[in-house]
């Protein structure tokens, strides 16, 4: 597939398939997804809940077993790694979660929580650990002396997310997966955290996979955006271009559905497009066809491949908008 982002991508996902069973039924969470993320790039991954975007993020980290496909991180296939080599590799890839409070152990002090990655990585010297912890805590805008001895429940959601970000940075990772990092936060706090992520990205030279359901949030931080629907990628492209000229009808629908804070923009009466089908029995052919205004017979019989529709922009649609 022609999804070349750069000659030497840091992360390369090839034909990844993740399925798991719930109550005896197979959920097709991720079906044949391929992606590349260049060094220093932020790739946004959007989609509605249940579309498999979080599963994809976790499968990249091998927290979910892939059925088939490859996850190449800096040339190493993570799906074939086990035990110590995998643990070593994981230290270069970090994860930030949606619920910042739940991702901190309620019975451990902030100082210990942030130092934990260092302990696991085998940094024996307590002074060295303390120095690194102080450094990252200050970097995320917290006073190390004030917060280190406290428990997570003494902090607000925004502060907990700062702590989570600090923990993910303490090992100097190259790649950070942010799984809905701001959707649990209030608007005024959300902007702080988004700005902080951008700052940290520049300061630590990170590559980000930014998973979210909010297109505006994704656009604010991403160089390229991938749109996912029911386990498949619909569209991938540079973010400005994708939002200005969406090629996939689903992308267009998503953009149209965002409420605009301007009373002059009367909300267009949305097309009655129904709801996403179940990932247990996804529709044949194009998975979006049941809600797509442009669907025809070909869409139900043939799975559309991601094709180049404009420079750098790929869409998996038989009837693209551009």
């Amino acid at each position: 597939m022609m999804l070349q982002a750069a000659p030497n991508p840091l992360m390369k996902v090839e034909n990844l398939v993740v399925e798991y069973s719930v109550g005896g039924k197979t959920i097709h969470a991720v079906s044949d997804v391929s992606l590349e993320i260049a060094r220093g790039e932020t790739l946004g991954l959007v989609g509605e809940s249940g579309c498999g975007k979080s599963t994809l993020g976790r499968a990249v980290l091998q927290l979910r077993q892939a059925v088939s496909g490859k996850v190449l991180f800096d040339g190493h296939d993570l799906t074939t790694l086990k035990g110590e080599p995998l643990r070593k590799m994981r230290r270069r890839v970090q994860l930030i979660f949606q619920d910042p409070i739940a991702s901190l152990n309620p019975r451990r002090r902030i100082g210990d929580i942030v130092a934990e990655p260092l302990v696991i990585a085998g940094v024996k010297d307590p002074e060295e650990r303390k120095r690194r912890v102080s450094e990252v805590l200050s970097a995320v805008g917290l006073d190390p002396a004030l917060v280190s001895g406290r428990l997570p429940h003494e902090f607000s959601g925004g502060q907990c997310q700062r702590i989570c970000i600090a923990r993910s940075l303490v090992l100097n990772p190259e790649f950070v997966i942010c799984d809905e990092p701001v959707s649990a936060l209030d608007v005024s706090i959300r902007a702080q955290i988004l700005n902080l992520l951008e700052e940290m990205k520049a300061r630590y030279g990170l590559t980000l996979l930014f998973i979210a359901h909010d297109l505006a949030v994704v656009k604010a931080v991403s160089d390229r955006v991938a749109v996912m629907y029911l386990g498949r990628l619909c569209e991938v492209g540079p973010s400005e271009q994708l939002f200005a000229r969406p090629a996939h009808p689903y992308t267009a629908l998503l953009i149209e559905a965002i409420p605009v804070p301007d009373p002059d923009v009367r909300p267009t009466q949305s097309v009655p497009v129904g709801e996403p089908p179940s990932p247990i029995a996804p529709p044949s052919g194009c998975r979006f066809r049941t809600r797509c205004p442009r669907a025809d017979a070909r869409c139900s019989s043939e799975v559309p491949e991601l094709r180049l529709v404009a420079s750098g922009q790929f869409a998996a649609c038989h009837h693209p908008l551009v």
């Binding site: 502060q159 005024s188 297109l215 505006a216 604010a220 973010s239 559905a257 409420p259 497009v273 709801e275």
Partner: protein
């Protein structure tokens, strides 16, 4: 505003907590006219949900409410429990954020709808059943006949919210309170649900209060907007006037902090620094002053009152309002 269907006058809600008294709602005045839509916007903990509970007289037991809640000529704070119960089913309806918690998981959708209708409208079972089918069809549920026998967990989140709206609409209420009706839903479903609410509101000529944290939700769909911060209404205006000229720095900052689609990626967002004050430790001055970039002088020592701007409908509580066409 005369002839308002609902008017909240000087409402104060105090909640005792282990850490001291928490003033969830602090001297709030609001009105909603028949057939009008009011949007209440605020971040979590600003008291918007407590205010809606106060209107419905569904506050937690230990909470204390003072002030008046006038609905259709009667003071709800003085009504007997029995009268309130009748009123809540019939004239006052509510849709909550999470439909899974507002629908009873062990009863079928049909039972829940039909029971409500039989109890409040005194129809017989067959008529109530007929009405339920019509309602489900009206809220856009395909195959409504079959849905009656299904349980809430068999439906998707969006469908459940539609059912919750159908239950709320079942007795033709005069006022519908929608408390974060779309926060738990996906963006494509959110648009559909908001359209549905607007359509039914117009068709039935009911008054509606939409409570949300998202300025985008209220912008195109309300007549008036009240912005809450730390238990108080800090700005209140007809929707077009508010978005044309925000006077309260908090409202402006809230809007500015939203990521926008027409801005190129990696543009730093104008964030509001700090976080809302601890509601158990009220500030002496304006609650927003520690985070406000215009804060000066008496902002930290004196509470600004909600007072009118040039037009009587546009109220704000600020000593240094944003002047027309620029900063303070």
């Amino acid at each position: 505003m005369s002839g308002a269907l609902l008017s909240v006058e000087n409402a104060v809600v105090d909640l005792p907590t282990p850490r001291g008294n928490l003033r969830a709602v602090d001297h709030v005045d609001l009105e909603v006219g028949a057939g009008k839509t009011l949007g209440i916007v605020g971040e979590s903990g600003c008291g918007k949900t407590m205010l809606s509970r106060a209107i419905l007289q569904l506050l937690p037991k230990k909470a204390k409410l003072s002030g008046r809640v006038m609905f259709d000529g009667q003071d709800l704070t003085r009504l007997s429990a029995e009268k309130l119960r009748k009123l809540r089913g019939r004239s006052l309806a509510v849709v909550f954020q999470d439909p899974m918690t507002s629908l009873n998981p062990v009863l079928t959708i049909g039972t829940q709808l039909i029971e409500t209708i039989v109890e409040h409208l005194e129809l017989d079972l067959a008529q109530a059943r007929q009405r339920s089918v019509e309602l489900l069809a009206a809220v856009g549920i395909p195959a409504p006949e079959q849905r009656l026998t299904q349980y809430p967990h068999q439906l998707s989140g969006g469908m459940r919210q539609r059912v919750a709206i159908a239950v709320a609409l079942s007795c033709e209420p005069q006022l519908l309170i929608a408390d974060e009706p779309t926060t738990a839903l996906d963006v494509t479903i959110q648009a559909q649900i908001l359209d549905l609410l607007a359509r039914e509101q117009q068709r039935r000529h009911m008054a509606m209060i939409i409570i949300t944290h998202d300025l985008g939700v209220v912008a195109g769909r309300t007549d008036e907007v009240a912005v809450m911060y730390a238990g108080r209404v800090v700005e209140r205006a007809p929707t077009p006037a508010l978005f044309k000229q925000m006077r309260m720095p908090y409202t402006e900052a809230l809007l500015a902090a939203l990521p926008k689609l027409d801005v190129p990626p990696h543009t730093p967002l104008p964030a509001i620094s700090g976080r809302p004050p601890d509601p158990t430790r009220p500030l002496k001055g304006c609650s927003f002053s520690p985070r406000c970039r215009y804060s000066a002088g008496r902002c930290s020592t004196e509470k600004p009152r909600l007072s009118p701007a040039e037009t009587l409908e546009h109220l704000y509580a600020c000593f240094h309002p944003i002047a027309a066409g620029g900063g303070a």
